[in-house]
Each structure stands twice: as C-alpha cells, then as structure tokens.
C-alpha cells in the first residue's frame, strides 16, 4: 500500500500544523503515530486520518532533569487525547493538568531534526 502513512509525512504534517493518524478499517481503532499494520489486530487496512488539533490532557509530567542536548529544565510533556487517538507532545506555553483542554501550538525539534507536536492550554 503506497499510501500508508510514513514518519516523513507525519512529521511534515506536524510542521505545518496538522496531526495525522491511522484508523484501522478492520477493528476500528485509531493510532496517533504511523505503523505498517494495526498494532491491535495486525490488519494492513489502515486509513490515514486527520486528527483533531485540540484535545484533553490524558496524563502529564514536568521534567526537571533533562537528557544531554536539552538545556531547559521544568518543561512539561503530556499525552493528549485527540478524539479516538492519543499523541505525546511538549507543552509550549503554560501548565496543564489531567483533564485540561489543550490545542496544537506548533512543534519542537531535536538535534537530529525529529519533531514533536507542541500544545498550549486552550
């Protein structure tokens, strides 16, 4: 299947303010990150879907001891419920708790150019 979502396409979407996921045509579950087959049922019938860019914090933590390569301390990482899927991202602004509404605010990029969605309180 040539139209199967790739990491490159997922990243390009994040950089342009969109979030892409995959819905399994067989079991109906939606993932927030690309796979070659459904992690729940193994089906390859995955349809690329646009995820909502606003959601609700599922869980979060504030990291005070960062890995090498990150100078900042006290940044917040959250797993966000976006409709049927969840995505992990960094809070770009403000502080949130579980249950708080957030929206996509941009992205962060690491040393190797890998991007992560950024969220802010809504």
């Amino acid at each position: 299947m040539s139209d199967r979502l790739t990491h490159g396409e997922w990243s390009d979407a994040v950089e342009s303010g969109d979030l892409l996921g995959q819905t399994c045509s067989d079991c109906g579950k939606t993932q927030g990150t690309p796979k070659a087959a459904c992690p729940h049922c193994g089906s390859r019938a995955l349809e690329t879907v646009e995820l909502p860019t606003d959601g609700v914090v599922y869980t979060e933590t504030t990291i005070n001891v960062p890995p090498v390569g990150i100078e900042e301390r006290g940044y917040q990482v959250a797993v966000v419920d976006l409709g049927e899927a969840r995505v992990m991202g960094r809070l770009s602004d403000g502080e949130v708790e579980i249950g708080d509404p957030v929206e996509l605010s941009g992205f962060t990029e690491d040393d190797d150019g890998y991007v992560a969605p950024a969220f802010e309180p809504r």
Binding site: T59, T62, I63, P66, P67, V79, I98, D110, Y114, A116
Partner: protein
C-alpha cells in the same frame, strides 16, 4: 512440574565498580559456578544480557569476551538486549533451551556499568536510558525515563487517588529492606519526610522515588528439571511468562495498567499451575516508586487501585501479607540495567533456599519476579518454587 531449576547464584554488590566489564562479570559468574559446584567445562551454553555498553562504553560483542574471561571460551554464547528486562529475557531463553533438551547446564547472567563515576555523567546517561523510548514519537518531546513512569503514575493517581505519601512509603520500605542486604547500593534507611523533601526529577517523582544508576553483575546456573536433583539445593523454575505492549505510550490502550506485565504474569502463573495468592513474596521492577505500585496490581498481588494503600498500610513490607522487594528492589539494591533481571532471580533463589539472612521471608516456598523494560513495552515474569 518445573521447567528448569536454578542450582547456583551469584551477584556483585551493586554500586560503583571501577573495573572492566569482564572482571565485574567474573565476580558474579565464578561464585554462581562455585555455588552450583560446576566447572566451566560442564557449561553447555552461556545466555548473556547487556543493554547499553555499546553506547556507554564503546564495548560490544561482549559474549566471547566474557566467556573467555571466565574460562568458557568455545561455548555458544548469545547476547540479549531488552532495555531493563535484558537478563530476564536471557534467562527465559535459557529455561526454554533446557526445557526443550537443547542444553543441560547453562550459565545466565548480565553486567552493566551505569554510574557517573565509571562512565557518562547524569545528563548523558539520562539520554542513553531514554533511548529505550520511541526514537521518533517519544524522544523528541524531551521525555526521560523518570518521565515515562511519571506519565503512568500521574494517570494512576488520577484514577485511584494514589498519593505522593504512598509513593514515599514504597521508597521507605525498600530502603529499609536494602539496609539488610549487603549487596545493596544503598544501605541506609530513609523516612517519608525525607523522601517528600527531595528535589523533583519528573513530577510526581522526587529523587527518592527514583532508583540509582548502578554498576554490577549477576549470574545463575540453570539446569534441566531431570538433572536438578544431582545438585545441592536446587530451586525450581515453574513458570516464565514474557509479553510486550504497544509502543509508543500514546498508542497503548490503557498505559497505566501495564498490560504486558498482566499478560506475562498470567502465562507464568498458568505454566506453574499457581496464582498470585500462592506467592509468598515478589521481587518487582521498582525503577520508580510508582512502578512498584503498578506492578503490584499487574501481578495480581493486590486489587487494581490498592497498590498505594497497600504500601501505606505495610502490607508489602517483609512482615506484611504480600511482601514486595525484600532485597531492597531496584530502588535501594540498585539498577545496573543488564544485571537487574538475573539479580532478582538470585534473590528468589536465596529466599527460597532460606539463606537470605536478616531479610529472610519466613517459610517462603513460592515467589514471583517481574522485570520490565522500555516504556513498559517488555515484561518477563518468573515463578520459582522451593524443591521439596
């Protein structure tokens, strides 16, 4: 019926060891061979675990290097890497090999050096540990390993009302147990107040909620069930379960239930024809205090949501109804990644033989070990029983 038996066990003290990996491993492997009363020439194969020495020490292809050092050059060696579940995966494969009649006598062990004193500084090791999370979909957020378990634990706190005080109780208990273990990294007791006063690493975890970076090695000698009686003090391996969960965390169905641990435990109990209720104690992967609470529930030792209250009420203490981590656990005993899994089995062996000294659980006949790797993506659960 048992699948295999452990007939020898050895480990180094966990802590700082400024010596090469092969020498460190020798200090666990030779005592394990001596304990079993076997010569290196009697070993059919070596199943070995190391997670991060490629990144941390530029040292790979360790199998033959270690085998040569301990007098076993020539035997088939296979090396396993499964993040923090590394050496329990080596053990699982060794048990399967003797169970299937491929080998009769196998050395299983692991070694790792993770302390800032012997290797990289904290920031660099934090990045190396985080390499076990998803490279594209987790690491770019700046996620660390304390962060991974903080995400699970915060959700657990939200669902069940688990408190920071209950997390601290886990640290206090494990430090108390570690103080009785001469091989523990930390030999000092602590208090809830001290734990709650520490600096925050990744909330809700403070310094005392986190296991240390440790150096160390551990090893066991595994033999087939039929051969076990020809050795002194064999301890039966009656079940080994192994399961994985979806990566990354965002795509797991219910991250805080740690489904892989539930699946692996169900397999291990079923093979052993036993249940959580029959376990006299457990060694669980308490890389963080919250991880012990999740594990106590996933293994069925307490009801879901009761992990925090059980710790607070002393139920998981050595004299409680479900003792957890009498060794001190990763929290106090230490966490040299690739040595952690087999070190849990060293503790099970000593306790089930009744030779654990001051930290002995009275009358321990059955026990379970839970060794977890990555973002709760791999779990190996082992049930061992005293041979009567």
């Amino acid at each position: 019926m048992a699948r295999a038996a452990v007939v020898g066990a050895g480990m180094t003290k966990f802590g700082v060891h400024d010596k090469p990996l092969q020498e460190l491993f020798g200090e666990a492997a030779l005592p394990a061979l001596d304990d079993a009363g076997v010569e290196p020439s009697e070993i059919d194969a070596f199943y070995f675990g190391n997670a991060m020495s490629g990144q941390a020490e530029n040292d790979t292809h360790l199998g033959p290097k270690l085998a040569s050092h301990v007098g076993m050059a020539g035997v088939p060696v296979q090396r396993f890497e499964d993040a923090c579940a590394t050496s329990s995966n080596a053990f699982k494969n060794a048990v399967e090999a003797v169970d299937a009649g491929v080998h009769d006598v196998v050395l299983v062990g692991g070694v790792e050096r993770c302390t800032p004193e012997t290797g990289k500084d904290t920031a660099a090791m934090t990045r190396i540990f985080a390499s076990a999370s998803h490279r594209q979909y987790e690491q770019p957020t700046g996620l660390t390993f304390p962060g991974v378990f903080a995400l699970f634990t915060k959700r657990h706190m939200h669902e069940y009302g688990t408190t920071e005080e209950q997390l601290a109780e886990v640290a206090v208990k494990n430090h108390g147990n570690g103080a009785l273990n001469p091989n523990a990294h930390f030999g000092k007791e602590t208090t809830v107040e001290e734990a709650l006063d520490g600096p925050i690493v990744a909330d809700p975890f403070r310094l005392m909620d986190c296991c240390p970076f440790s150096d160390g090695a551990s090893a066991v000698v595994v033999v087939s069930e039929e051969l076990a009686d020809s050795y002194d003090a064999p301890v039966d391996v009656s079940g080994v379960g192994h399961a994985t969960d979806v990566v990354p965390i965002g795509d797991k169905e219910t991250p805080h239930v740690t489904q892989a641990a539930r699946d692996a435990a169900a397999q291990a109990y079923e093979q052993a024809d036993t249940s959580a209720a029959e376990m006299d104690f457990a060694e669980v992967h308490d890389c963080f205090t919250g991880a012990e609470i999740l594990a106590s529930e996933a293994l069925g030792l307490v009801e879901d949501g009761e992990g925090g209250p059980a710790a607070e009420a002393g139920r998981t203490a050595r004299d409680g109804d479900v003792p957890i981590n009498p060794s001190g656990g990763l929290k106090a005993k230490g966490h040299p990644i690739g040595a952690t899994g087999t070190a849990q089995l060293v503790e099970l062996t000593e306790q089930l033989r009744g030779t654990a000294g001051e930290r002995q659980i009275d009358g321990a006949d059955s026990a379970v070990a839970h060794n977890l790797g990555g973002d709760a993506a791999t779990t190996v659960v082992t049930v061992m029983e005293a041979r009567r």
